[in-house]
Symmetry: D2
Subunit: 348 residues, 4 copies
C-alpha cells in the first residue's frame, strides 16, 4: 500500500502533508500537470517498417509454434513513449500477426474488440462465431467484443496481417474478460461468401427491420477491398479534391463498425497531399498501396506498403503521395465522440 508524501519547508504545512499521507489524501495545490492547457500525450510519432515486420514475422514463424500455450504469433508494436507498454499508441494496440502454412490459431473470445487489415495474400479464414470470413489483401475483418474467433490458413504460404485492438481502453476501464473456445478439433470452415455478407453486404438493402440482428457492433464483419477501392474513387470524383477519406460503417445504423474504433480508408492522388489536421485521440495507420510520406507532428516518415505508423493525440498529421497512396487507419474517435471529448482542427 503506497502513500504519496508531499513536502513543505513550512513545518505546519509539512506536518499537514504528513497527516494527509497517513490518510491516503493528497493536496491538489501541490500537484502540477493535472489540468494542462492542451493534452499531455505519452505516445510519440513512430513508424514500424514493413520490411522489418515481415522479416521478423518470418523468423518468428520458424521459431515459435502456435498452440494453446501461445495462442497467437503476434508482434506487438510498442510505442517508444509508453515506457515499454506493448501499445502502438496510448489507446490502441497494433501488431502484425503471422500465420504459417496450414496453421490454425484456435478459438477464443475477449471483451477487447479486434480488427484485422490484410496487407497481402489470400487463403486465410477467420471464423467469427462460426461464420467463415475469407481474408484477402485490402480486406477489413472485424472480430468484435466477446465474439469467438479463430484463424486458419488453408494454403502453402504463410500470411501476415495487421491486428488493431482497443485493449488499452478496455484495460484502463478494468473490463477485460477472456475465454477460450471449445478444445475439440476446430472445423476448418470456408465459404465463398460469409453469412454476415449475405445478410448485410448489400448496398442500401437490409433484411426487414424485425429480422435484423442488433449487436453492439456492425453485423457486417467483412469489408472487401474492391468495394473500398470503388468508394474512394467515386468520392474523389464527386468532390474533386486531392484526397478522400471514407469511413467503414455498420450498415444497419450508419455508425462506426464497433463502439470503440473508427476505421477509415484514405486515398491521396499522386503528387498531392491531404489536408493537415489534428484530432483528440490516438490513431494507427498502415499503408496498403502506393508510396509517399507522412508528416506527424514535426517528424517525417517515408511510407511503403505495409508500414505502420502511430499518430498520437492532438498531433497534426498529413499524407503526401508520390504514387497514389492508399492507407487504412483506425482511431479511438468513437470513444472520444461518445464521451463528448472529440475535437478536431485544421492545421495551417
Amino acid at each position: 500500500m503506497t502513500s504519496r508524501r508531499f513536502n513543505s519547508t513550512d513545518p505546519d504545512l509539512d506536518q499537514l502533508y504528513h497527516d494527509l499521507s497517513e490518510q491516503q489524501l493528497q493536496p491538489l495545490w501541490e500537484m502540477r500537470g493535472l489540468l494542462t492547457p492542451t493534452p499531455k500525450v505519452r505516445s510519440v510519432p513512430h513508424r514500424w517498417s514493413a520490411k522489418e515486420l515481415r522479416s521478423l514475422g518470418e523468423r518468428a514463424g520458424e521459431l515459435v509454434p502456435i498452440d494453446r500455450g501461445g495462442d497467437r504469433r503476434v508482434l506487438a508494436c510498442a510505442n517508444p513513449g509508453l515506457d515499454g507498454a506493448p501499445y502502438a499508441a496510448s489507446t490502441l494496440w497494433a501488431a502484425v500477426q503471422f500465420l504459417g502454412a496450414h496453421e490454425v490459431a484456435p478459438a477464443h473470445r475477449h471483451t477487447p474488440a479486434a480488427l484485422r487489415f490484410v496487407l497481402e495474400g489470400e487463403g486465410v479464414w477467420t471464423l467469427v462465431d462460426g461464420d467463415p470470413l475469407a481474408m484477402s489483401a485490402g480486406d477489413l475483418i472485424l472480430t468484435p467484443s466477446w465474439r469467438f474467433h479463430e484463424h486458419h490458413n488453408s494454403t502453402e504460404q504463410p500470411m501476415l496481417w495487421m491486428d488493431v485492438l482497443d485493449l488499452p481502453v478496455v484495460a484502463a476501464l478494468e473490463a477485460v474478460f477472456f475465454e477460450e473456445g471449445p478444445t475439440e478439433e476446430v472445423e476448418r470452415l470456408t465459404a465463398p461468401v460469409s453469412r454476415s455478407e449475405r445478410h448485410y453486404g448489400g448496398a442500401g438493402l437490409l433484411p426487414p427491420p424485425g429480422q435484423r440482428a442488433q449487436p453492439r457492433h456492425s453485423p457486417l464483419l467483412a469489408y472487401r477491398w474492391a468495394e473500398t477501392d470503388r468508394a474512394l474513387d467515386r468520392r474523389l470524383e464527386v468532390t474533386g479534391a486531392d484526397a478522400a477519406t471514407m469511413t467503414y460503417v455498420d450498415p444497419t445504423r450508419g455508425t462506426d463498425v464497433m463502439p470503440t474504433m473508427r476505421c477509415e480508408a484514405h486515398r491521396v492522388r499522386a503528387g498531392t497531399r491531404s489536408p493537415r489536421s489534428r484530432q483528440t485521440g490516438s490513431r494507427v495507420a498502415t499503408v496498403f498501396r502506393g508510396s509517399g510520406a507522412a508528416v506527424v507532428g514535426d517528424q517525417r516518415f517515408d511510407l511503403a506498403p505495409g508500414d505502420i505508423i502511430a499518430i498520437p493525440s492532438w498531433t497534426s498529421w498529413q499524407l503526401e503521395a508520390h504514387d497514389q497512396l492508399d492507407m487504412f487507419s483506425t482511431s479511438d474517435a468513437p470513444v472520444l465522440d461518445a464521451l463528448g471529448l472529440y475535437r478536431e482542427e485544421e492545421c495551417p
Copy 2:
C-alpha cells in the same frame, strides 16, 4: 356549415339532440362504428393489368401533351373501394407515368414524397435538385419531400414507370405544399453515376461523420436492380427459405428510405409461395419479373410483369410463383411504426 342531427323517439332526448346539433356537438352514445374491434378498411384488393396500363398509357401519349398546364402524363390507380378518390389504397397514391420520346416533365416540388420504380426501358433521367439519376428497368428512384425534380427522356422510345406517393397521408394531415421550379429551359443533365450514388452508394462505407448530409430521407436517391437482384439471391441462399424480402434503407441510418414509405423487394422461388401474413397499413406492389399469383384477402389475382396490386390494411396476402417471381412493394409501415400503430401477424 353542416351540423349533424341525431334523432330519438324520446322527446326529451330528441330535444337534447336538437340542442346539441345547434352547438355543433354530437352524442357519442348514438354513434356506431367509431371504435371497431378490428380496422374498418375502405380500399379493396385490386389488380391493375399491365397490358391495359401500357395500352392506355400509349393512347394518352398520343392525345395529351406535357406542358405547364398539365405537368405530368400520369394514370392514377383509383381503388374501387374509395368512392372515386384517385388513390390505389387508402394511404397510397400509385400510378403509371408515361414519358414520350424527347419529352421533358418540368421541375416542381411538393411535400408529398414520391418514388419511381422502373418497369422497363432505359434512357430517362430524373433530376433531383439538379442531380441526374438514370432510370433503368428494376431501379428505384426517390424524389423525397420538397425536393425539386423533373424527368427527361433522351431517347426515341417512350418510357413507362410506376409512381408511388404518400399523398393521401399528407393531404389528411393538411400539410401539402407545392411549388413550380424555375421556368427557364431546363438543362438536360446526365451523368454516368449520380452524385448521390458517388457519395452514398458504397456498401458499408460512408463519408466521414462530419461530412454527411443529414436530410430527413435517404441521401442515396437511386437503388439499382443489379444490387437488389444480388441481395435477394444472397438472402435466399443464407436463409434457405422459399421467399425473401429485402428492405431498401437509408445507408446513413439503416432506416426506411423516406419517413412515410417503406420500400421492399420480394423474391419467391419458382413453384413455391411466400408466407401468408397481414399488417396494419396499406401496400401497393408491382411485378417486376416472373409470373404467378397473389392471394389478397379472399381474392386471387394472376400476376404478370407490370401488374399493380393493392393490398389493403389488415388484409392477408401471399404470393405464389410459377416462374421465379420478383415484386417491388411500397407500404406506409414507417408511418404506423412511428406512431406505435404497426401490427403484423402470420395467417394460417
Copy 3:
C-alpha cells in the same frame, strides 16, 4: 364499386376517359387541387362555449345512463367544416365527458390514444391498467394507445372533463382496434399517489436504466396542475416574455407524452398577448383559468374557462389575456414531425 368518369369534348379523349374509368384509372392532368401551393384545410376555426357544454352535459347526465350499451357519456365537438364528422379538427377528436355521482365508466382499450384534461372538480379516478390516477382541476391524465382504462366517480357531485383523441389519424391509417375490459364488477381502486407517479414523477430522477418500463408512451400518466403552474411561472421569470409555453414530456426520453399528440400549457400575462404564429397540423385548446380572446385566422373568440377552440392547420393564432390566461392545448405536431411535415412560422 364506384368508378369516377372524366369527360372531354374531344371525342378521342372522351373515349380514353371512358376506357380509363373502366380500368379504375384516372387522368392526373384533369384533376384539380391535388397539389396545392399551401394546405387545403377542411376544419374551420371554432369555439364551443363552456356554458353550453356544461349545461348540455348536465342534461345528458339526467337523460342518458352509462352502461355497456353506451360506455361513455360524451359530447363530441363536431367542427362545422367537416361535413358532420364528429371531429373537433381534421385530425383530433375533442369532447367533454360527463360522469355523474357514483357512476362508473367501465374498462376498455383501443389503439387510438386519449388524454383527459380536468376543467373543474376532483374525486374522480381513472384506472389505467389498474393504476388509479386521481383527477383534479388542471391535471392532465393519459390513457395511451391500447391500455385498459376506466373512470369512477366516488363523490356526490358530477364531474366534467375534456377528452382529446387521435382517432381521426388512427382511423385514416385503418389501424383502429378495440376491446372491452373484463365484465366483472370493477374494483374501485384509489391511491393517494399513482404507481406511475411514484416511479416516474420525480424531477430529474428516474429508476436505474435497467429498471425502467419502455412503452411507446410516457410511463408517467398523470401531470399535476401544481407542477404545471410552477413551471409556467418559472419560465416567464427566466425569459422575461409576456407569454410562456411548456411542453408535457415523457420523463424517460424528453419526447412528447404520446407518439401522436403534443400537449402544451400556455400562460399569457394579464394585458398582453402571445406571439402570432401558425403550424402545419391541427390543434384543440381549452381555457383553464383567466379570460381573454383567441384570434384564429380572421376570427376572434372571447374566451372563458372551459371554452374549447379548434385551430386548423396552417392557420395563424394568437392569444390575448385580460386576466392572466392559462390554456391547455393538444396538437398532432408529433405526427407531422415524425413524418418530416412539420412547418412553423411567425406571422406578422
Copy 4:
C-alpha cells in the same frame, strides 16, 4: 526512448527478442496477463473517514490560501492500490473541497467533467457559465465538461463538499484541455433559483422542442435534496423493497447527467441491507445521512455521514443500514455502457 527486451534461454529466440526490441516490437506469446479471464483491478476497496476529512480540511483552510497559484483547496482521495496516483478509484477522481468564509474559488474550465455533492451547510454558490447555483446539504451540482465555473462562499462559515471528476478517463484518452476564466473581479451572483432550474427543473415539463438547449450534458445543473428524498421514499413505497436506487438524469433525454458519470442516490431502510452485486467500472460513494456499513469485496467498512468509499471494478458490494442509510454514488457506468463493456451481476 525505452524499449522492452524479452529474454529466452534458446539463443535463436533470444536473438529474435533482441532484434524485436531494436524495432520497438514485443512478442505477444511471452506476455502474461494481457487478456485475463476477469478484469485485473488496480484500485482496492477503501474508506476515507469523514472525521479526518473534515479536520484535515479545516487545517488546510487555515494554512493554504486560495489564489491563482492554487485555484482550489482540495484534498484528493488517493486509492492505496494506485501507486500514489491521486485517484479515488481507477477511473474516478474524488476529493473534498474546503471553501472558507467569504472565499472565492475563481473561474476556470476544463474538459474533465466535475460534480459536487454537498455534505453539509449552505450559502455557497457555484456559478456555471454565469448561472448561480445555490449549494445546500444533499444537493448535487454539475459543472460539466468545458463550462466555466467558480465557487463563492457568502457566509461566515467554511463549507465542505465532495468533488468527483472523470479526470482519469479524460487523461487516459489524452483529451485534457484547461483554461482560466477572465481575471477581473468575479461578480458574486446569487439567485433564489438558477436559470437552469427555471428552464429545466419541472417534473414532466420542458420548454417546447425548438427552444431547448442541446448540450452533451444535462441542461439541468442542480438537483435538490428535497426532490431526491421524495423520489427515494416513493420508490421504496411502490416497490416494497428494502433498498431503493434512483438515477439522476438529463430531463431532456432521460440519460445520465453527463456522458462520463452516472449519479445515483441510494436509500436502505433501517435494519435491512441492499442486494449484493457487482459491475464493471469504478464507483465512489459518500454517506449523506444515517449509519451502517458497506461490505466491499471481502472488506467491511463502518459508515458515518461524510465518509467516502471506493468500490473497484467487478468487486461485489452491499450496504447495511442501522438507521436509515442515504448514500450518493458516482460511477463510470455511462462510459462502459457506451462502449459495450458494461456487465452487472447479482452476487450470492
